[in-house]
Every structure is written in structure tokens, then in C-alpha cells.
């Protein structure tokens, strides 16, 4: 009998309610997918996120492999030109590409390395040489490369870069969000719990910080911490805790009048014990909600800074950096703007829906 009667905790209840919310569940699945992609994709595309392919700058998204048949001739002509040889003829046979070149001086056999050196060919060797040495037939295999999202202005694979950027954006969002929540929770709960003069002073401090121009603060942090972007975003997290501390303080004020807190006080539990054991656990709901709403804010802030050139530095990237580069190349290669924007916006969408869903699930009275 006693086994059958197991109560449902707040979290089980909330989870049951969240499962009813289709938008939130879909967003949750989407975020899991994005996280997985960010972790996996840069490792399996076969391109390093810093690797540049000068032959393929701003090539459009395509499922076919590069080099494409229609561009091969041009590339072979480029190779011949670079080797200062006359381009004669080319053809494809048995999956290899045959190139005939000529010159008015005997052709050095080492010219094969011009083929190897280009982004499109590998494994070049001399097939035949005319008796006078003035013409040479070389063969090479095409280096197959896939750029499913195309490449950026420097010829880097966008697929790799977008998800590499996603790692940075999400990491920054989570890190700064977490820092802000921790500081805000501690500050707010101490202020609310102690009350009186201390509360008054601590809240005035928050008011004054509120009134300061936020952008100036952030720029000063950029100036201080320079290019160490992890440190910088920990610092930004340390600026964003103001709202959190107000919410937590309000919650603490009402929680500390609850009977169980009075009971704990009567039993002689100290202030730290009450905060840790009774007050903070009972506020986890609003804290979690606020964290999910803070993460997209930080991501937007980071992309704003990166857009101004103050955020993440090359060759590292973030969605803000990618969007800024895309905006600069918008006329010739609009996909450079649209692809990172798509991932940034859908992620923010999903995080907002998760936040709203959690609010409904954890705080059903609120609606």
C-alpha cells in the first residue's frame, strides 16, 4: 500500500505539463539537434574551419562535389598558366584527368606539382612526353570536395564554420547566462533574506547599476579583457545579473514568511542553512525560466558585439561574426547572410519557446 502511494514532485508535474506543450517540445528537440550538429558537424565535414580554398571562394551551396565538370577546363588552364606552359587539350578517362601542355623549351617533368598544388587535383604524374620534350601529357585525379553550404569570401567551408560558430555562440550564451544567474541568485536571496538596512543598501546598488549605460559597461569590459573572449563573457554575465537579483529578492521576501522557514528557524537552523536548504531550492522554477530567457539575450548581445568587431576574433567565429560577414557579401552571395541568420534566428525562437513553455509548466497559476 505504502509503495503505491508515491507523490509526484513539482518537477514531474512540470514535465507532464511541458509534454503537453507542442511548441516547447518541438523546440526542445530542435535545440538538441542543433547541439548535436554543433558538436559533430565540424569534425566530420573533412574541412578545418580555418582551411582556405582560394580556388573556391564564394561558391554557392551545392550537393555535388567540386571541382565541377564545367569549371575543370578553366582550372586546368589556370594551372598551365601558372606553370608558364601552353594549354593544349584535356580529357577525362577512367576517372582521371589528362592534360596536355606544350612549351617552346623542353618541359620539366616537375611541373606535375603545379597540379598537386591546386585545390582540385591530387596524385599527378607524367603520362607521356614527346621525343623533343616540348609537349607533355600529365594525368591527375580530381580532389573531390563537398561544400553543402558553399564557401565564404575567403574560400572556407560554410557548413563547418556555421556549426563551429554555433559552438561559440551557444557556449558563450550558456556560460554568461549561468554566471549571471549564480550572481543574481546569491545577491538577491541574501538581500531579501537579511532584509532591513542591508536589503535597502543592496537594492540601491542594483538601482544605480541599472541606471548606468549598459553599452559603455560592455565596451569597458572589452577594453579591459581584450581578446580573451571567454573571460569577457564571464564579465558580461557579471553585468546581466541585475534582473535576476530583483526577481530572486522578491521571491525570497515571500518565501521567508512561509511556515516551513519559520519551523526551520525555530529548530535553530542558521541563515546559510535556510537559504541553501529551503529558499533557493524553492526558487529553482523562476531561476530556470530566467536562465532560458537569458541565454538568447546573451547570444544576441554577443552577435551585436561581434557585428561591431568587438566580440570573437578571427579565425574563431560566432553566428554574429558570420552574419556580419554575410551582410558584407550579401549582393554577390546572399546565402552567406541567410544560412547563419537561419540558425541564429531559429535557435533564438526555440529558446524563447522553451522559456515560455517552462514558465507555463512550472508556474501554472501565472497564466
Amino acid at each position: 500500500m505504502s509503495e503505491a502511494l508515491k507523490g509526484r514532485s513539482l518537477w514531474q508535474d512540470a514535465w507532464a505539463r511541458l509534454k503537453q506543450n507542442r511548441a516547447a517540445m518541438f523546440s526542445l528537440a530542435y535545440m538538441a539537434l542543433i547541439l548535436l550538429l554543433c558538436l559533430a558537424v565540424p569534425n566530420i565535414t573533412g574541412h578545418d574551419f580555418t582551411a582556405q580554398y582560394p580556388a573556391y571562394t564564394r561558391v554557392g551551396p551545392s550537393l555535388e562535389a567540386y571541382p565541377k565538370a564545367e569549371t575543370l577546363q578553366g582550372e586546368l588552364q589556370d594551372v598551365a598558366k601558372r606553370a608558364r606552359l601552353e594549354f593544349k587539350e584535356w580529357h577525362q578517362k577512367d576517372g582521371r584527368i589528362f592534360l596536355t601542355v606544350a612549351s617552346d623549351k623542353p618541359v620539366d617533368e616537375r611541373v606535375t606539382r603545379y597540379l598537386d598544388r591546386s585545390d582540385s587535383f591530387k596524385d599527378a604524374k607524367v603520362e607521356e612526353k614527346s621525343a623533343d620534350g616540348l609537349t607533355l601529357v600529365m594525368s591527375a585525379a580530381a580532389k573531390q570536395k563537398y561544400f553543402y553550404f558553399g564557401t565564404d569570401a575567403l574560400g572556407r567551408d560554410l557548413l563547418t564554420r556555421v556549426f563551429m560558430a554555433g559552438r561559440v555562440s551557444l557556449a558563450v550564451g550558456l556560460l554568461a547566462g549561468f554566471v549571471a544567474v549564480v550572481i543574481g541568485t546569491i545577491f538577491g536571496s541574501v538581500s531579501g533574506f537579511l532584509g532591513g538596512r542591508t536589503d535597502e543598501i543592496m537594492m540601491r546598488v542594483v538601482d544605480i547599476l541599472y541606471a548606468l549605460p549598459f553599452t559603455l559597461f560592455v565596451i569597458m569590459l572589452v577594453v579591459f579583457f581584450g581578446r580573451n573572449f571567454m573571460l569577457m563573457f564571464i564579465a558580461i554575465g557579471a553585468v546581466l545579473w541585475l534582473d535576476m537579483s530583483r526577481i530572486v529578492r522578491g521571491q525570497t521576501l515571500s518565501l521567508k514568511r512561509q511556515e516551513y522557514v519559520q519551523a526551520a528557524e525555530a529548530l535553530g537552523v542558521g541563515a546559510v542553512g535556510i537559504l541553501r536548504r529551503h529558499i533557493i531550492p524553492n526558487m529553482l522554477g523562476p531561476i530556470v525560466i530566467y536562465l532560458t530567457l537569458l541565454v538568447p539575450q546573451v547570444i544576441i548581445l554577443e552577435s551585436f558585439l561581434s557585428f561591431l568587431g568587438l566580440g570573437v576574433q578571427e579565425p574563431m567565429s560566432s553566428w554574429g561574426v558570420e552574419i556580419a560577414e554575410g551582410a558584407a557579401n550579401m549582393e554577390v552571395a546572399p546565402y552567406l547572410l541567410f544560412i547563419p541568420t537561419f540558425f541564429l534566428s531559429t535557435t533564438l525562437f526555440a529558446l524563447n519557446f522553451i522559456g515560455d513553455g517552462l514558465r507555463d509548466a512550472l508556474d501554472p497559476k501565472d497564466r
Partner: protein, 307 residues
């Protein structure tokens, strides 16, 4: 009412003082100065320049000087934009920024309130979902995405408006900045309005008004909207202050000679007086608009009284 106004103005002074003080010292703690050029200038020349601008004096001295000048309404000369005083820079740029910002705010308020009301009246129907989608898109699509797309579509493809620049200051140059600046605000206003309107429509006095047989128009506009618009107004105060003092993103992308770009440029250049001037300008606008919001509250909601 008069006493309230005076009291509000008096409490604004210490707030402003604190903001100025903290920003001043924050600025001076940061490494570098306005005359640390990449190439470097001969030390004796630098010394002369710093002497002219009193930068060789101790920081507390500079601080007191600045406060004294500020009290006389003197924002000082810009250190980096030569031969211009901060006040002159503002008098040129602020007109443009404020004009664009004011129109953006009007655009956001009129369209946002309208969409919010429509969504609330058609709750859970396609119109409502469309407004929610727009509101979410407006708050997740950053300005620096909307602005280039606007330029591409309306400037380059359709050739309806100029791509950028200020030209002769005609309205066509301002349409792009107004729309891109206003859209995120519009999204927030619509969302706030929808939420408070739904709440307001379920209130008892609305039921009473309907029971009395008032027309739909009268119920919605005179009774429901009156209460529902309050959260929008408290949001609009600080938002208007922000829009009027210019946006770096919009002004950079559209090449508008406003004041929005000064904040970041001057902070990076350590143009101390221009940074402080911007801080003061934003603070004053924020204080003024919050004050206007409080007054509007009393006008709209008769329960609010300032004695």
C-alpha cells in the same frame, strides 16, 4: 502636481550625478588615452596637447572641473574630432537621430498597438498567430539582419528608396532606418498590447460595459484599451529615449550622420568628453521620458494620483 514635478526633478539630480561619477572614473580607469595614436607622437607634443586639455592634472581635479563645467551646461571639446565641441556635434547629429527615432517610435506604437488589439480580439485564430509570429520574429531577427535585407530588397532590387546615406535629408532616406529601427520595438509593443488586452477584455468592467449594451467600438477603444495601454506606455518611455539617442547599428548600416555612432567610437577612442556627453545625453533623455510616462499614467488611469 506641481510639487510632484519639482520633487521628481530634484531626485533626478543625484541620479545623474551618480551616473556621471561612475562613468567618469570607469572611463579613466581603462588603459589608454585619447592621444595614444598607433604611430605615436613625440612626447613633448603629446605633453603640450595634454596640457591644453588639462589631461596632465590628477584625475580627481579633472573630475571636479568636468562637474563644474557640466553644471554650467558646458560639455567640453571633443578630443578626437578636432575643432568640434561635444555640444556642436550633438546639435548636428541629434536632430537627425531624434527625427528618425521619433518616427520609428510612432511607427512602432501605432502599428504595434493596432496589431496587439487585433490579435487579442481574434485570440487563437489565424490573425492572432500571425501577430505572434511577427512579434517573435521581430525579437529574434537582429537589426543588422533586417537592415541589409531591406537595403537589398527596397534599395537594390526594387529601387524604391535610397540604399543608404542621408542626402538632402528627405523622407525617402529615412524610411529604411525608421522601419528597421521600429520593427523590434513594434514586435515588443504588439506582444505587450496583446497580453494586457486579453487580460483587460476579461475584466469585470468590460463585462458590465457589454451588458449595458455599449457598441463594440466603445467597449474596445474607450474601456478595454484604456487600461490595457498602460504596460505599453511604461515600456515606451525608456524605449523612446533609446531610439531618439540613435542606434549604432542602423546609423552605421544606412550611413546616417546621427549621434548613435558616437558612443562606441568615442569609447574606443577614449574621447573622454564625448563619452561623458553621450552618457549625460542618454541619462537625461531616459529621466525625461520616464517622467513623461509617469505623467501619462496619471492622465490615463484616474486611480493614479500624484499628491
Amino acid at each position: 502636481m506641481l510639487r510632484y514635478t519639482l520633487r521628481r526633478l530634484l531626485t533626478a539630480v543625484p541620479t545623474l550625478f551618480l551616473i556621471v561619477t561612475i562613468s567618469f572614473f570607469l572611463m579613466h580607469v581603462a588603459p589608454g588615452g585619447p592621444f595614444d595614436m598607433e604611430k605615436g607622437i613625440p612626447p613633448e607634443i603629446k605633453k603640450n596637447i595634454e596640457h591644453v586639455f588639462h589631461l596632465d592634472e590628477p584625475v580627481w581635479r579633472q573630475y571636479l572641473d568636468y562637474l563644474g563645467n557640466l553644471a554650467h551646461g558646458d560639455l567640453g571639446p571633443s578630443y578626437v574630432i578636432l575643432n568640434f565641441s561635444v555640444a556642436e556635434l550633438f546639435s548636428i547629429g541629434l536632430k537627425i537621430s531624434a527625427w528618425i527615432g521619433a518616427w520609428a517610435m510612432v511607427f512602432a506604437l501605432v502599428v504595434g498597438v493596432f496589431l496587439g488589439v487585433v490579435a487579442a480580439l481574434r485570440q487563437n485564430r489565424w490573425m492572432d498567430y500571425a501577430v505572434i509570429a511577427l512579434a517573435t520574429a521581430g525579437s529574434t531577427l537582429p537589426t543588422y539582419v533586417i537592415a541589409p535585407i531591406y537595403q537589398l530588397v527596397f534599395g537594390l532590387l526594387l529601387r524604391l528608396t535610397p540604399v543608404g546615406g542621408w542626402g538632402d535629408g528627405s523622407f525617402s532616406h529615412a524610411i529604411g532606418p525608421i522601419i528597421t529601427l521600429g520593427l523590434p520595438q513594434l514586435a515588443t509593443v504588439a506582444r505587450l498590447m496583446r497580453g494586457s488586452m486579453i487580460e483587460s477584455l476579461n475584466a469585470h468592467h468590460i463585462r458590465t460595459a457589454r451588458a449595458m449594451g455599449l457598441s463594440d467600438y466603445s467597449v474596445v477603444v474607450r474601456h478595454a484599451m484604456r487600461g490595457a495601454v498602460l504596460p505599453v506606455i511604461s515600456y515606451a518611455g525608456p524605449a523612446a529615449a533609446q531610439l531618439i539617442t540613435g542606434s549604432i547599428i542602423v546609423e552605421t548600416i544606412f550611413q546616417i550622420p546621427g549621434v548613435g555612432r558616437y558612443f562606441i567610437d568615442s569609447a574606443l577612442n577614449r574621447d573622454y568628453t564625448l563619452v561623458m556627453g553621450t552618457v549625460v545625453m542618454i541619462a537625461v533623455f531616459t529621466i525625461v521620458f520616464n517622467f513623461i510616462v509617469d505623467l501619462l499614467y496619471a492622465v490615463i488611469d484616474p486611480r493614479v494620483r500624484y499628491e
